[in-house]
Symmetry: C2
Subunit: 430 residues, 2 copies
Amino acid sequence: MTRVYIKDIGKYSGQEIILQGWLYNKSSKGKLAFLQLRDGTGVIQCVVFKGDVSEEVFKLAETLPQESSFAVAGIVKEDKRSKLGFEIGVKNISLIRLAKDYPISPKEHGTAFLMDHRHLWLRSSRQTAILKIRDEIIFAIREYFRNNDFTLVDSPILTPAASEGTSTLFETDYFGQKAYLSQSGQLYGEAAAMALGKIYCFGPTFRAEKSKTRRHLTEFWMVEPEVAFNDLNDNMDLAEDFICYLVRQVLKNRRAELAVLERDISKLECARKPFPRITYTEAIEILNKKGNPTQWGGDIGGDEETLISREFDRPVIINRYPAAIKAFYMKRDPQDPKLALAMDVIGPEGYGEIIGGSVREEDYETLLARIKEQNLPVEAFDWYLDLRKYGGVPHAGFGMGIERFIAWICGVPHLRETIPFPRLMDRLKP
Amino acid sequence: MTRVYIKDIGKYSGQEIILQGWLYNKSSKGKLAFLQLRDGTGVIQCVVFKGDVSEEVFKLAETLPQESSFAVAGIVKEDKRSKLGFEIGVKNISLIRLAKDYPISPKEHGTAFLMDHRHLWLRSSRQTAILKIRDEIIFAIREYFRNNDFTLVDSPILTPAASEGTSTLFETDYFGQKAYLSQSGQLYGEAAAMALGKIYCFGPTFRAEKSKTRRHLTEFWMVEPEVAFNDLNDNMDLAEDFICYLVRQVLKNRRAELAVLERDISKLECARKPFPRITYTEAIEILNKKGNPTQWGGDIGGDEETLISREFDRPVIINRYPAAIKAFYMKRDPQDPKLALAMDVIGPEGYGEIIGGSVREEDYETLLARIKEQNLPVEAFDWYLDLRKYGGVPHAGFGMGIERFIAWICGVPHLRETIPFPRLMDRLKP
């Protein structure tokens, strides 16, 4: 008899096989017991008929507690009523380990309770579906960049410079020096783009923000492409093409998981080129027309993003922001130096900013002046300035916080479900 | 005229194109100037004939400093003498930015100097080649696990428990609590394997070790598969198959980069199944026969690994170590409880341990007793113990520090060249 995984069950129709896994759910009715076995690749119904098995095995089937581990030997039978198309006619069951009083029952639990049991909560079909979509998106990200000749350049987590103030940084002692956990790989990515042309960083980033909103994690993964010689239009094209690829891959490969999440697929199918592109100034006009009082020069926050996103059926790219509210390294618009050549991609359905990026200032003197203006420590940026001193070129890039992207794709409102072990202001365990 | 990348140059033979990049090197001879242009995808010779260009352009070509950025318009010409097969007959050059006094000249520099200029050193063809092989290996790792139905589960970096002592941990303040940077995702991976069956973690890990050897980084990337229901043989099979796949992909796709590194390919071609598998006891015998005095029960350190590796032409798997020198979570050998069902894969040519793994103890009572025996804080492991309480199953996994693997593949002795921005005890910048 062959040991098989549930996902491959269709290949064994009519054959006797062995499955190993955990009891997801069960019911019984007279001479029949129905065990839902999960093995990480799927869930299958195992039907135990009293006449087919020993008395002990039937009793085990009737009394087996949730999440007990066991092996089943049985025949793979076609069954049109099952989503999978197959069920198992059980011949034998051997218990691996009994699970008593599994804390997560099919009844409703509060979120705090589920988060305390995150190591077990992952076993639920909803959490499993989210994790598989996460896996799909992360692979698609890497595949996209590989297909488009980008080189992965892992930027460091431990960094010396508290380049933009230390208030939202996690600090650690590094053999007698202060080190900080990275908030972005961008500056390193720029160095690498000058070496390799097209690169991306992709790793965990950290923000010690005292924020408890559903859109904040203290530890999250960010992907950051950077391309030498790209301008703002190239950067917007790249972001658009990238997002469309990711959405397409999930729609192609993760239909079953989206169905588990009851995601409205039509909302994702809209995400096709071209994405609307509006200037910051136009965004403010939209807001004002809708009664939002944000003035030109003001920040476009979460509420404003939601208002704007409702105008469109797909992601919208807002570009050319007031330079005053954007980072020092962003290049000014040569047409209007009040503006920075920045862009944000706002997800549909109120999912907020999913990408933020810009063209970077490539001129040494301008960048140096900018650093001094903002009272940043020049010595912390000496190596970054070197990139302009030695063959600076126009370049642009962006960052995407992948948990926000996953939240949109999955249609889950809170980021805490989009990462296996979320870190929030009040949550460091398990 | 089309802007193209050097790697695609073959498609434009005979055509006039534009290239953008940096000056890697140059020479001139009478009426000819030879500019080596690099653009991150390759290096190409641009031949400037005085009669073909304006006086200014020829002067620029003769005097252009290393790493200046410029664009070239010219005709793609086949040239058998060039490695690439093509060169550019220059029609025009436009300077983007002049680089004065680029610090890394073609002469020899000390390592400390190069490491201080790591952000520029990345531009050298040797460093570029290593980074491209690193990218290839990382993609192959993810592709391997995807092809084999593993789900990626990113384990957290910020963790609450100092499970095995704090002396080699980086600590940070987490909103009033202590948090530590993760040394391994394994415990989280085990939780995920109970949910998803076959998983892998892949992220940065940290060791605050006061060690300055060539084989230590304080921050390095580790990939850790974990599989429910796998035993020691399955685990060894997986490690073997995994390594063979990675080597094969590099040999298939990165010949040019291996050639830049002057890597002896034949040493990599040997890495085929089956890998020799010896017990720890046999390993000690080999050592003793070769005059190394390590006693049974002693650690197999770097020197010993090198001695053992010289006996084989490919990676060797050492298994069944004395339980006393292995971690608390490792399952004992039912045949001999003095032994742990642990395994290490030792790279050839003295590159040392590239994989370490084991079967994990799945019994609740045994694991609890083990934790108490070793005076570990039980409360820190409550959630980890839950994995045994609720449907514990046999499972196994391993970890591979990818920089050590890259070092072997590239044939570079020091790990500092295998990661874009290495973190060493005395190096946190750039």
